[in-house]
């Protein structure tokens, strides 16, 4: 008889956390109360750059029952450990404040209202320094913010004549046509609907932290350094998390740090929940980017050379900027054949709050630039945009800008066939009031960590037969809405050959689960799901062997497992990452296999633009994505549609406005994201080109839907109006500038 688990994969079972979520029983961090818990609040700088001279408590305020904590209360290192040890948890007196809304002091009190009132009565004395608000000012060294050049990181990709600047200039000079453009993409707020928050509970000489987060072991590492505690005295537990999109990758370590400092100072559990304005103002956003792109073509439409300069605004501290820049650079030449390529990327320090992880992680920025270039190139040689892409796109056997030869799971033909079919439907006609246009975009996204990242991390996952006879999956991969708990249930059930109802996947806590790495980089299903698959099969083999040896060889598998659990207690099987064969990456030369595999996608967008207001209505959106294998088709579709709308929002209406470096629109009223009424009907086409090293052929899908739709919509607006849209978000004011040559300041009026 075929074991039932074999049907678990490829089937859209009701998500395992679904009923808890639709009934309101799921417990998010703000739903959790701990006995004796106090409420925290953060005192922040309203100055973007300056020396902290003093912290004063207003003597007129009644401080009874209020605990105030500063950098002096930190037991270990005053640093948020991540990549570089440059970001403090709290700025110490005498040290430099480097961005607006930087945390300086903390308060806690028995009620949240008292904590907020107390925070408002802490006064900071700051000696201001000149602000560096743009990457241009930073590169001109108006102020030295970092090292001696204000550059956090620099990466280069060089192929063929691109080895030198002179070489790429010569290659471009030899081309028949050169397309040149400068592209600007704005910051983007993740806008998870659950604001960030943490609870810290001190005790037993250690600390237990519960909160809304993506990466339990990132927070663990940060707390060990900050609190000077041994690893086993720090427990990080994820609560049900209301969205992340990258926004809960690194910043939760900061909130955990603050809750922990307060809880140790007060000797009581402390809950720290951000208001929406604090969350928008202080936490990370997508890096703003400026990309200068030159593309050389032959008259027949062959792309022969690309020269790309990428600058991202890192904000005030290093945080994850080098890694974001790396991915931006590695995607900057696009999924196109090209023999001569030069890409130079720099992440630059400014006095903005640090920019950080957001779905796509650098790739959406460079994708916007190259897909705008492709649109212009197709027009320059008089080719249809789909035909131009098909002529130049990477196919199996071709190599990327880093010289990675594509061998398997290359979905370019299939996604472009879907785009071609979608483009065959006639565009609705324009009229006097509304101009219509169509845009296409085609892109790829490296799944999993870049280069040798997965090998260095060597993530582990465990599948257990518990003493009670159930199966449990243990990993540090969090479910932040994207469906980890459900797909791991399916993958484990399939590997074990049992019904999905026999498998449990608890939310991770670091004292129960191994370090499988962070929940980022489109790696949860492909990489950690692969480990769950291997561990499940290993456990199944162990149970079957035991059954044969102990006279249960003829028993059903579940009965044999229960007998083994009764006799032996808990049985576990672990799996640890090992790279696919033939994957080699050279970090020094930035050549080789940048990623184990790529996802592929194409998007077709139809827009209607009002010729008086320049409002853009997205009337149609078709998105074809190669996912390798859809473990759970509905969850995959939901990932694609959610990512698509975030990308359309980034392209058209999500506009983070800074004033003197501080986020000026820090409410959902003015920092808007698409609503039900703004969103188009999205047609999702799943393409399955299996990846032999992924579980059941699956590869990463979380980020790729974010990469291309913004370019597709800009291309569609250009098609409608005949003017280039090279800066996003393409809010009506920007389109008006392009269409009518009006002047416009994104800064808005300055308040005195």
């Amino acid at each position: 008889m075929r074991p039932p688990g074999q049907t678990a994969v490829g089937f859209s079972l009701p998500r395992v956390d679904g009923v808890a979520k639709v009934t309101g029983r799921a417990r998010y961090v703000d739903d959790i109360t701990v006995a004796g818990m106090m409420h925290g609040a953060t005192v922040r700088s309203d100055v973007g750059h300056g020396i902290l001279r003093a912290i004063h408590r207003d003597p007129a305020f009644d401080w009874t029952g209020v605990t105030v904590a500063t950098a002096a209360d930190i037991p270990g290192q005053n640093v948020i450990a991540l990549i570089e040890p440059d970001q403090p948890a709290l700025v110490a007196i005498g040290n430099t404040i480097r961005h607006p809304d930087e945390a300086v002091a903390l308060v806690c009190a028995p009620t949240r209202a008292r904590a907020l009132a107390a925070a408002a009565h802490v006064r900071l004395e700051i000696e201001p320094l000149p602000l560096v608000l743009s990457v241009e000012a930073s590169l001109h060294l108006k102020q030295v913010l970092h090292g001696d050049d204000n550059i956090f990181a620099r990466f280069e990709v060089k192929k063929g004549a691109g080895t030198s600047a002179a070489g790429i200039d010569a290659a471009l000079a030899a081309a028949d046509i050169v397309i040149e453009g400068t592209y600007e993409t704005g910051a983007q707020e993740q806008m998870y609907i659950e604001p960030q928050g943490m609870i810290a509970i001190p005790g037993d000489g250690g600390i237990h932290i519960i909160g809304s987060l993506q990466c339990p072991y990132y927070v663990h590492k940060a707390m060990v350094a900050l609190l000077g505690l041994p690893g086993d005295k720090v427990v990080i537990q994820q609560s049900v998390t209301g969205g992340g999109f990258g926004g809960k990758e690194e910043y939760p370590s900061m909130i955990a740090a603050h809750a922990a400092i307060l809880s140790l100072a007060a000797g009581a559990p402390v809950k720290l929940i951000y208001d929406r304005d604090e969350d928008i103002g202080a936490t990370t956003k997508r890096h703003p980017a400026t990309i200068h792109h030159r593309m050389g073509l032959l008259r027949d439409g062959t792309i022969v050379a690309q020269d790309v300069d990428v600058i991202i605004d890192g904000g005030a501290y290093v945080t994850l900027s080098p890694v974001v820049l790396s991915r931006a650079v590695l995607h900057a030449a696009g999924p196109y054949r090209c023999k001569d390529v030069r890409i130079v990327g720099r992440a630059v320090a400014t006095n903005a709050p640090p920019h950080g992880a957001f779905r796509g992680f650098g790739a959406p920025q460079t994708t916007f630039a190259y897909e705008r270039q492709i649109q212009k190139a197709a027009r320059a040689v008089g080719m249809d945009p789909v035909a131009f892409r098909k002529k130049n796109m990477l196919r199996p056997g071709d190599d990327t800008a880093t010289g990675q030869v594509l061998t398997e799971s290359v979905g370019s033909e299939d996604v472009m066939a879907a785009a071609e079919k979608a483009s065959a439907t006639p565009l609705a006609p324009s009229d006097d009031q509304v101009r219509r246009g169509r845009g296409v975009a085609f892109y790829f996204h490296g799944a999993g960590f870049t280069g040798s990242g997965e090998q260095r991390l060597a993530g582990r996952a465990q599948v257990a037969l518990t003493a009670g006879g159930d199966f449990e999956v243990r990993s540090s991969s969090t479910d932040i809405g994207q469906g980890t708990l459900t797909i791991f249930t399916q993958i484990a059930a399939a590997g074990l050959g049992v019904e999905v109802s026999c498998v449990r996947v608890p939310e991770p806590r670091t004292d129960d689960v191994p370090d499988s790495g962070p929940t980022v980089a489109s790696r949860t299903c492909m990489v950690v799901g692969g480990l769950v698959d291997r561990a499940s099969r290993k456990l199944r083999g162990r149970i079957e062997a035991w059954a044969r040896e102990h006279g249960h060889g003829d028993a059903p598998f579940i009965a044999a497992a229960r007998a083994m659990a009764a006799a032996e207690g808990e049985v576990t099987a672990d799996a640890q990452y090992a790279p696919p064969p033939g994957i080699e990456w050279d970090d020094k030369t930035y050549t080789g296999a940048a990623y184990p595999v790529f996802g592929w996608a194409a998007c077709v967008v139809d827009v209607a633009v009002d010729v008086d207001t320049y409002e853009v209505t997205i009337e149609r959106c078709v998105h074809a994505v190669d996912v390798g294998k859809a473990i759970h088709p509905i969850i995959v579709k939901g990932q694609i549609e959610g990512g698509t709308l975030q990308a359309l929002g980034w392209g058209t209406l999500e506009n983070v406005v800074y004033r003197d470096g501080r986020v000026a629109n820090r409410r959902m009223t003015d920092c808007i994201v698409p609503t039900f009424a703004d969103a188009p009907e999205i047609e999702t086409i799943l393409i399955e080109k299996p990846f032999s090293f992924g579980p059941h052929g699956a590869k990463g899908v979380g980020e790729i839907p974010m990469d291309g739709p913004a370019a597709a919509v800009a291309n569609a607006i250009e098609d409608a109006l005949g003017v280039a849209i090279d800066e996003i978000p393409a809010i009506p004011e920007r389109i008006a500038i392009a269409a009518r040559g009006l002047s416009f300041s994104t800064e808005g009026p300055h308040t005195p």
Binding site: D17, T23, G24, I193, P195, T675, A677, E681
Partner: protein, 156 residues
Amino acid sequence: MTIEFRLNGRAATVTASPWRRLLDVLREDLGFTGTKEGCGEGECGACTVLIDGEAVNSCLVAAGQVSGREVTTIEGLGGDALHAVQDALVRFGGTQCGICTPGIALTAARILAREPDADRARIRELCAGNICRCTGYQLIVDAIIDAAGHIKSEEP
């Protein structure tokens, strides 16, 4: 002051400032944490409850205003079994991270009660006060349409 109202079909009495937000009274005083706070200013709809059957942002309602009225939170939708909308949201993938889901379920329940024949465009218009950042809305609309069909087929 003492505020008396009906909560999920039962009499409820709470002693609170009449100016306290209904959201806080529900979550903190009465322990009904299924009502969520996303923005605190009536933009996101995560705190949606029904007051006398109408979908309202509970962060914008002063507790005193519900005196003598009927309040329904997510805990009161559906009773022992799931409401058709809750069931459809699970089956169709209309919930991901879930933080907006209680509010959307209540808004959708109100739509189905008042306009069971609403089409996709009308559903989008009526749900526009509830923001979801995960789904792109497509599967939520699918779920509401499906739930409408189930409710109609069960009617005599």
